[in-house]
Subunit: 368 residues, 4 copies
């Protein structure tokens, strides 16, 4: 099956391996006439770039994006937008044990089982570098959403057991003032200590990424299988290392009673509003006009430097000592990926949602 | 967009409203030659039937399924299998306030916003009765999976704050000995008390459903966007009232360290195995041969009998007192729905996964 | 693969066999608020009903459609519209040789090869009755198109070597005044003679169906693979017995020179128009504002009463003498099917086409 | 809608404009383990290269393909294969009238109507260079098909009114001995004269391409909408300049009688065979084991050098004199494109067809 294609109208096809020639994406179905240049993409890519703090791999990658098609005279043409980031750090090199055995927590074993062999260089297709393509496509979606007054904002909510304090969550910009992307300086400091400790232990740390969306119109999302939350959860779960997704109160809703979990409706400035937002902005799979809120659980980086038990491709028990350069935590770099996937889903569902009402369809085609 | 169609090869199209003529599903892409009769479906439907305990609505619905096509001489023909459950309990009746206002926690408001109006009879398309179609289709998928040695088993893990004790989890059959579908008699008793209390309070309760899959081959699931966990989470999140999904350790993985969360590989009876299963049977989106494990958070039933604040269709503030017949908890009845959606995703991905290797494709078509 | 599902946003799933319980279709993605009742569908179904002339099988089928979902208070709700036509003429009966051998020109052999067995009763899924579902769905599409000023009109252009004379093509109604659906009374008479002759010879006749569309906006259809003509040709070729499709001049364009085949542009009443329409209303896969024009070649009915050479399921040579009731020509009854499939494609591409321009998308969501 | 993505399992996404940075394709869903290198692709691309005879534009393009991903150690990995042909002949240059007006027979007008503007450089996305991506993807499909014993062979059947003589159709290689790709030297000579004449007249010529497939297993193709012929016709019609498609006898079947058009079955060397092949190898949309045969009508190149009437973007009547370099006929260069699209459809339907029978699915997953 074609696993690297996503979306219905705003449809993206990604490609590339960690140590291959590059990573790229073809964005098909992007509406025409959107002003777009490489800088619009680069600012997003820069947010996931490694080597920006002691908590991410020291690899220097400039990850410069190039637009190869679909933009003319500074605007999208409505035809496929092909983007590529060429890999600067290809190392033929000796991949040693990585090639010969299965790293615990990685996809080495499952790729071999599925395909009979794998591109073992730096994880090949299952490398975190694959997310470059998601972020590049998401930057385009986010730009168009922004012009509709819709803003997607993700951040690190917790690292290990260090959680941000809502009371200290001053402003969105605070997120970008620390390497862990936590919009709470105090928590960020504590988290930094935790990560540093585990680095020293040759260990790694996970965390939770939260994402909120403001300005989303009501009525977005389809009933039954194409619910907005269903598509968002698929998009978020498709990001490597995600082990859980929550919408609104998520799992804590399971322990609440109906009287507490229901969000009462009330008129406010002539508009229907909800007095609370336990639902996270979605009712019956369709946006309800409140802010959308979701959470993603990110497992600790499986690449750790302490010795681990595993088996070889030849199916012999062995001990593995991973070498090389690896992030002790991927949560901060995944923040922009969650933002990108959320933007891609929202734009796609906004585009498919234009045909929900007959009268609006008729008006659309007859007024012109 | 077509929100009621799901799947790539094993593709289902569901239809029907709570108080319409019936609920149905067309299953297209089911392999030919599978022995199938209405009883195969009915045993699954009976598990979600209401009126089986004091904890579900006293509505008497026999929900008898009829197969209209796609089966000949007791076997599936490979062409669409159309199934219908006619609604016996259609009540033209007066829907009173339900028709005129928005029930908190329900999709009344979002349907009106999306479509301009809605079928308000019993929730229309957003009613829990919609899941009849999922269960009917899932029963077919489960039967074919079973013939491949794959078993999907879901159960109630917790209700409110009452959780089953793994130590008391004796056998799978235990699930079916109590109305809450908890495979732990002691927890089931406690939970029954809790639900009874909240019924008396005119309130409702939520819970968590767990689902495990045994016998799944390795290599199922596709890289990047069509990961097995991504598709499972979409399927589960598409069930009304689900607010969270976890694979394996889920959110607790976010607070674990890599050394503890990684599952070491070891040879066992000549097979590659994992010494632990924090991953829940999926690595890089592809099944790893361990049991698959997922969890779904179910919110408390939004239909409660205590008075609630809301607004009318005419956008006036008002108080609502829901009447009629409603479950104080939907978790137990949703267990089989989680099982059904899991089976549908697994079968679909098994079918699309047949083409993963060139040598197997060539052998498939040349050996015949 | 799921072969019975068609469309992207206006998505239909059909089911049913010739002698099963019924034939049906689920229409998902139909915009909400369209006034719809069973009569809207029935008038289309009546046009394909058999037994209306000596040129169609004397089977009496009232083919009465029932809407099971998706319509409330006389309007479409935006959720799936399920429609069924129950088979009145089920005959358990003895299917004799039809069950035991392969009828030349039919799908008996290929179904057995694909699925291992087949529902042989009246052709099962490959029966012409399958088109009932297409026509029912097409009636809905045509109604919505009509409200946008778009009219789809198909007719019999030729039967055997008897072709209508454009000069005598007076008005569209003329089509419905003769059993062959030819809008040219003289040709219809000639054709009637031809068909009568071949009936007497125990033989059958084919023909060509033409279809024109007026009022289609410019800009409908997508570049490259989703060209309007590409989707139309797939839809028409999916109708049993179709062996060729032409857009505009079709095959005669292959023998024309560029100077003659190009359609010059000119301003007319302030609008860009084409002075000729060799292209048939489509340039580069996108509608150009001229009338759309296509043709479908229909092979002669394979069911003939003269003795034919064939093989049995047990792979023995044998002679076959088909009994029962069969049309000596299916062209007239296929006219409404071509109209239906054309309407379905046009509506679907109109709906997906709403998102072509960023400014219109932004206006759509911000003006509300 | 995403118009540049095609296929269900073997899914291709194409991108690029005539005078942009390049033309490319991402092939997702290609089975793993297929030996593949750039030469495998280049031999196909060389067949569509211009500048190879006086009948194609003198533009010198080496159209060298580069594989950017999805191949490791000389074999496909099962992940996306990204291929690109960089445009060597980018000319910023002055596009003069092409930019300011609508060329008759081209997509200039319809692109402007759909998207509000267009990349006018050399036709942008609607240029014939777009087919480079189809051929590159088709080369991969053809290689895998070949390993299953399936061969796709297309050729020029006629140019203008010059048709090859079946009697003179000696061998397949004959096609490649003349610039018009006609497997009949005599006809090729005649056709060459015709094209030369029309070049002198500043005019252009069309023709018909035929394509046959040998070695296709029975049972390929799905009932109803996903018929093999339906998908083939969509694929062929999606090629620019195609105005008609026929399967088997095509339009001549419409004038035949059933007794002549039916293909009788007979046993031959223990296999079910057809004594004739009017059906072109497809019955009921499913391959019947005979050779598959289809035809495509190609219109004359719309770019002619004689003066033509048209309108400007500012909607003023004007006369246009096209300059530059254009083929007087595109038929010969389109032959490999027809072959490529046919191969893509066949492989995709072979892959989706693996799941047709339950017993084979079970065997596939349990024997391993």
């Amino acid at each position: 099956m074609a696993g690297s294609v996503f979306g219905t109208i705003f449809k993206i096809s990604t490609w590339g391996e960690s140590h291959g020639k590059g990573i790229g994406v073809v964005v098909d179905g992007c509406p025409a006439g959107l002003a777009l240049c490489e800088d619009d993409i680069q600012v997003y890519l820069n947010r996931r770039k490694p080597g920006q703090s002691k908590f991410s791999t020291p690899r220097k990658e400039d990850d410069a994006v190039e637009i190869l098609s679909g933009v003319f005279e500074g605007k999208t043409t409505g035809t496929p937008i092909s983007m590529v980031v060429y890999n600067k750090t290809q190392r033929s090199g000796d991949y040693g044990e990585i090639a010969r055995c299965y790293r615990p927590g990685h996809a080495d074993y499952t790729f071999d089982e599925k395909y009979g062999f794998r591109d073992y260089r730096g994880g090949g297709r299952s490398s975190g570098r694959e997310t470059i393509a998601r972020v590049a496509a998401g930057a385009i979606a986010a730009k168009l959403l922004y012009q509709m007054g819709i803003e997607v904002y993700a951040y690190t909510e917790s690292i290990g057991d260090v959680k941000i304090d809502a009371a200290r969550f001053d402003d969105k910009e605070a997120r970008d003032t620390n390497p862990l992307n936590m919009p709470d300086a105090t928590a960020a400091e504590e988290a930094a200590k935790l990560v540093a400790e585990q680095m020293a232990n040759y260990d790694s740390v996970g965390g939770v990424i939260a994402c909120s969306v403001t300005g989303l119109p009501t009525g977005i999302g389809e009933p039954v299988f194409e619910k907005l939350d269903a598509n968002l959860s698929k998009a978020i779960f498709s990001i490597g290392a995600v082990k859980g997704v929550e919408i609104g109160d998520g799992f804590s809703a399971a322990t609440a009673f109906g009287s507490a979990n229901n969000d009462a409706f009330a008129m406010k400035n002539g508009k229907v509003t909800k007095l609370t937002n336990h639902a996270g902005g979605i009712l019956g799979g369709i946006s309800d006009g409140s802010d959308l809120f979701l959470r993603a659980a990110i497992k600790p980086t499986p690449s750790i430097f302490s010795e681990q038990q595993t088996v070889s491709r030849e199916h012999e028990d062995m001990m593995l000592q991973i070498k090389g350069r690896h992030d002790p935590i991927i949560v901060p770099r995944a923040v922009v990926v969650v933002e990108a996937m959320t933007a891609i889903v929202l734009l796609d569902m906004l585009l498919v949602g234009m045909s929900a009402r007959a009268d609006r369809v008729i008006e659309f085609y007859t007024k012109k």
